[in-house]
Symmetry: C2
Subunit: 115 residues, 2 copies
């Protein structure tokens, strides 16, 4: 059994100038981010809340990429989890950051090697 | 504008004896976990991979609960993110743990207060 190398990046994107309340724009941003890292999209769920906010997730062959937004706070939380050591979550984030356009970010990276 | 209190719990569940390759059982486990914490399910995406593995996510009014599994390693990664300070992610995890039945867990809790 081959070992498993999982790379995760959590990003708190603050002061976002991007379209935090636009589910289509966010989904497109996630798809571009997945493409940027060469990930394979297998499913999706996008929900817009009333009065504001979106949670959008793409399920990938390599796990998932997800964004939740609170437009009233200019906040987006991003989770990129990839179980392919050759795929760098930072590359997906760089793509998505171009859509969210945060003023500040807090990044948390987690590496897991199993087996 | 009211402040936002976001509670997140990431769990690495190792040595799981539960049904890591069964999408219906995992979805039911997520729904029970959401119910345990009083969260409101608004959407879902469940994908089973070939030859093995599942990623299942429920989008909640309070954000999301997600599990990705690697049955060949007995591993499940869980992310529970709730933007309601009255909802304790640990309660949702306690419910889901009863389904996954891990031998060992690594928990990472993140608290965010915004505004």
């Amino acid at each position: 059994m081959t070992s498993l190398h999982i790379r995760e990046l959590l990003v708190d994107a603050q002061g976002c100038a991007g379209p935090l309340d636009d589910p289509e724009a966010l989904e497109a941003g996630l798809r571009a981010a997945a493409e940027a890292v060469g990930a394979d999209v297998r499913g999706q769920c996008v929900v817009r809340f009333v009065p504001h906010g979106v949670t959008a997730v793409l399920v990938l062959a390599e796990s998932h990429i997800l964004v939740s937004t609170w437009p009233e706070h200019g906040l987006a939380l991003v989770d990129i989890l990839l179980c392919n050591a050759a795929m760098d979550p930072s590359r997906a984030w760089a793509s998505l950051a171009g859509v969210l356009r945060p003023a500040e970010v807090v990044e948390r990276a987690i590496e897991r090697v199993v087996g």
